[in-house]
């Protein structure tokens, strides 16, 4: 079937929210929204999808009063309205749950919910009322929380429910959920979907921002697709397939799965034995973690974020000294050698946070590409930099990894998110590593760049690199891994050797700590 780009299948009568011709150009010249029309029916779940930089966030910021559009109109229940700030949005019944939670960890759930609009008795906050309010809301919408629990001890899924309750307490009729499932396990996602359906059943309207197409199909009534600041179309979800939505997002055919051949497992390359690490604030982030990575194989590490994956990678990369345990690369002990010693043993590292670890945003692209090799020939000649080698290195990396930039002397900051990640990947893979640590290598980058990174990971594997892939995206680790370990609470609780046979549900149980394999050994 074909989709006409502007097909509008919604009947005009009852738009609870309508944006007409929203245009927003940022001071740096980026046209983030270009005459965007966006209409939401009362009581529906409306998915908004698009690649990073497609303009979803800008549109939502305009609806929530965080940005003022240059032109265009917002109508609520058919009435033209201006939304100068989030306060006004809340007054108009628009609530937003951000990707990063905005809760105060040291307060209870009830206190967080009422914050900013506290019920008082004679000028004193009425704690009882707060708890009662929280409980009532929680029961009414099926968003289960313990009102008296402190936010810092509750899991991520519950924090998210608190955020939703907070907006409901403030009288939200339209809820904007910004990539709400990014931090959830499959089970928590199911809980969230149940809650969202219950909200809609009670007359609320939900705008659901996501880039996971499976979720679009599962939860939404209608879907609006954006690409490069424009709305490609709004369609009834039931009428389209995932592939068709993907094509609308990217503007071309997309391979849903990365093609990869069978792994040709070679010799043992990296062996970590009984790694232990305790964070400075006393959390036991790694508890006797042992793993083995083989040449020519991708070892995936799944898990809900914050279960020790970050620490594991930093320990393996030599950035953090483990409290106990040993790391060997090709039989040589590299524990305690630091970042440079570990790199010299052939370990490359794509860090999970590009801007914090992977790049110096204000240094040039060329400079960013030699941080691991500047002190060696040919980049160093007797302690002096060899600019020609530096430029040649950058030229090669840019060509091989399709980094889009007019000039390698420009700062890394001038690149888009996807190109920044390609820059990091280019540097780390051009070192021809024995071991590649890849942490969240496609987080926040668009489909095109994701495809390229996936292809490069598989190519590195096929060239004999032992790849260790950590990702919060279950689909990604399942598609790419030849073996898959699951981390929970600083431990490896499961090791799956037959990845195609495992279900997401089963992985979810491991990720939540409900289930664990007996005697997990990762050395087979």
């Amino acid at each position: 079937m074909s989709l006409s780009p502007q097909s509008s299948v919604l009947s005009p009568q009852s738009f609870v929210l309508e944006a007409r011709g929203i245009t927003k150009r940022y001071p740096n010249g980026v046209l983030a929204n270009d005459h965007v029309d966006f209409r939401v029916l009362k009581g529906e779940i409306h998915a908004l999808v698009g690649e990073n930089g497609a303009g979803k966030t800008t549109l939502m910021k305009a609806l929530y009063g965080l940005e003022q559009p240059d032109s265009g109109q917002i109508l609520l229940d058919g009435q033209p309205t201006t939304i100068p700030n989030p306060d006004a949005a809340i007054r108009h019944g628009i609530g937003m749950v951000h990707q990063h939670f905005m809760l105060i960890p040291s307060l209870t759930i009830a206190e967080n919910i009422i914050l900013g609009r506290e019920p008082t008795k004679r000028g004193v906050i009425a704690e009882d009322d707060a708890v009662r309010i929280a409980r009532t809301l929680s029961d009414q919408y099926g968003l289960h929380v313990d009102p008296q629990a402190r936010v810092d001890v509750i899991p991520v899924g519950e924090r998210q429910r608190v955020e939703i309750l907070k907006t409901l307490y403030r009288g939200a009729e339209i809820l904007i959920l910004d990539e709400p499932t990014a931090v959830l396990t499959p089970q928590e996602t199911n809980d969230l979907f149940r809650a969202v359906r219950s909200l809609v059943a009670q007359g609320k309207t939900v705008i659901f921002i996501t880039h996971k197409l499976r979720e679009v199909k599962e939860i939404s009534d209608n879907v609006t697709v954006m690409r490069r600041g424009k709305v490609v179309g709004t369609v009834r979800t039931a009428d389209v397939t995932r592939e068709e939505i993907a094509r609308m997002m990217v503007g071309r055919e997309v391979l849903d799965r990365t093609r990869k051949g069978a792994a040709a497992r070679g010799p043992l390359v990296l062996e970590a034995t009984n790694l232990n690490y305790v964070t400075p604030d006393g959390k036991r982030a790694l508890a006797d973690v042992s793993l083995a990575a083989y040449s020519g194989e991708i070892l995936g590490i799944a898990g809900v974020e914050g279960n020790g994956q970050t620490e594991l990678i930093e320990v393996l990369a030599g950035l953090t000294l483990p409290a106990a345990g040993k790391i060997a690369v090709n039989g040589k002990n590299v524990t305690g050698l630091g970042a440079r010693g570990t790199r010299e043993a052939g370990v490359s590292h794509i860090p999970e946070d590009r801007l914090e670890l992977g790049l110096a945003a204000d240094a040039s692209i060329e400079e960013n590409l030699i941080i691991d090799r500047y002190y060696r020939a040919p980049y160093s000649r007797g302690g002096f930099l060899n600019f020609r080698a530096e430029a040649e290195n950058a030229r090669r990396a840019i060509a091989d990894f399709d980094v889009r930039t007019p000039d390698a002397k420009m700062t890394a900051r001038s690149l888009s998110g996807g190109n920044m990640q390609k820059l990091v990947v280019a540097r780390e893979l051009s070192a021809h590593p024995n071991v590649l640590l890849a942490a969240q290598p496609t987080r926040g980058i668009d489909i095109g760049a994701t495809e390229l990174v996936h292809r490069q990971l598989v190519a590195a594997r096929d060239a004999g690199t032992a790849v260790i892939l950590v990702s919060a995206d279950l689909g990604e680790v399942m598609a790419l891994s030849d073996r898959l370990a699951v981390m929970y609470n600083g431990e490896i609780v499961a090791l799956i050797t037959d990845v195609p046979s495992v279900t997401e549900e089963e992985l979810g149980y491991y990720m939540l700590g409900v289930k664990r394999q007996e005697a997990v050994t990762s050395n087979e």
Binding site: N276, V278, T279, P280, R284, A287, D288, A317, L319, T320, L321, A323, A324, G338, A339, R340, R343, H349, P351, L355, E356, L357, G358, L359, A360, A361, D362, A363, E367, I370, I371, D372, Y374, Y375, Y379, S380, G383, F384, L385, P406, D407, K409, M410, R413, N489, G490, E491, G513, R516
Partner: protein, 373 residues
């Protein structure tokens, strides 16, 4: 593209200076009964006579050294304020050498300057080491070391260098340098000495060090993003420590230049806050070593102009401090807004170092196992 960026930087600095001058003119207009005369003295004073030009260029020389010292540590994003103390100790040791080293003037001067460099280097190494290996805040440590340095300077001067029964707190003149007691001037009847050439050489040295050597690369990367440098394998501790030490060595030359070239003896207070003027100069130069020279020439011109104005009109010399304050305020405010803008767009740059973060080595035996079975 790059040229545009440079032009933009220059335009920013020029604008800030223009605003600062405009505000100071307004202040002059308010406080002075003879504002036009005051303006004139302020703007043209420094070029008014051979003496004043000499004074101007000597100050510019000193500020070039301290400006370079500050720019170097700023590029490593270390807010070291130790140039003043390093200058004092450099001056002291150069003075001691000039008083007690045998040999001819050239050898004595060379030895004195080298000893001043070593002194500044070692004195800069202290806060560098404390910062790199113990996470001691360099702002606090350098300010405290400044107090120590000036006290040591005064103690040594009064106890050992001052001739007994002398009325003023100063050493004997440096007889080794002949009648003037000073380094031979480059231009007759001025105090402009070979240190002016050394200042230019120092600027070239710092430029090459920062932009052409692997050490400078590691230093700049540590300044851009310390965690990135660590991740890439740069020994950031050693780099930061050496940056602060080299900076101290450069500040030490400033002290040597003052006692050897200007005062001809170890006097009570060789520096009029040149270490702190170095901060303004480095800010104006945007930490580019080659831009430090024009920035120092400009800023010292204002300083001397304000001096002349203070002597000849009813506007006090402190006007220079007003301008200095406004420049610092505007430049830091501008840097702050840029930083905030970046922060808001979600590209938060990590605040200084997790370098001080301890490598927590905790015995696993002491940690309760809480993992579910």
């Amino acid at each position: 593209m790059r040229q545009r960026a440079v032009l933009l930087e220059v335009a920013r600095v020029v604008m800030i200076v223009a605003i600062a001058l405009a505000i100071s003119f307004l202040v002059i207009l308010v406080v002075s009964k003879q504002p036009s005369e005051a303006f004139k003295q302020f703007v043209t004073g420094a070029a008014g006579s051979r003496n004043r030009v000499s004074n101007w260029l000597v100050q510019a020389t000193t500020m070039t050294f301290t400006g370079l010292a500050v720019a170097l540590v700023f590029q490593a994003r270390q807010f070291s304020l130790g140039a003043e103390g390093q200058l004092y100790l450099g001056a002291l040791m150069a003075g001691v050498m000039a008083l007690h080293t045998p040999g001819n003037a050239v050898i004595v001067a060379t030895v004195a300057i080298i000893v001043a460099i070593i002194t500044g280097f070692l004195f800069g190494l202290i806060p560098g080491y404390l910062k790199a290996y113990f996470g001691a805040n360099e702002i606090v440590s350098t300010l405290m070391l400044n107090a120590i340095a000036t006290a040591v300077y005064a103690f040594v001067l009064v106890q050992f260098l001052k001739p007994p029964r002398a009325g003023t707190n100063e050493s004997k003149p440096f007889a080794i340098f002949g009648d003037t007691n000073r380094l031979h001037p480059l231009i007759a009847d001025t105090q402009i000495s070979v240190t002016a050439l050394l200042a230019i050489a120092a600027a070239i040295f710092v430029h090459v060090l920062l932009y052409r050597t692997t050490f400078g690369y590691g230093l700049r990367m540590s300044g851009f993003n310390l965690r990135f440098a660590e991740y890439g394998g740069v020994n950031t501790r050693r780099t930061v420590m050496l940056a602060m030490a080299i900076s101290g060595g450069i500040a030490g030359i400033a002290g040597a230049g003052l006692v050897l070239g200007t005062f001809g003896r170890v006097n009570a207070a060789p520096s009029a806050g040149y270490g702190f003027d170095g901060i303004v100069v480095a800010l104006l130069a945007r930490n580019f070593p080659l831009a430090v020279i024009p920035a120092a020439l400009f800023y010292s011109y204002l300083r001397v102009g304000a001096d002349v104005m203070g002597q000849n009109t009813d506007v006090p010399f402190e006007m220079a401090n007003v301008i200095q304050a406004i420049i610092i305020l505007l430049i830091t405010a501008e840097a702050l807004t840029r930083w905030l803008r970046r922060r808001r767009s979600g590209e938060d740059e990590p605040e200084l170092p997790p370098m001080s973060a301890p490598e927590t080595i905790t015995s696993t035996a002491t940690v309760p196992t809480e993992a579910a079975g």
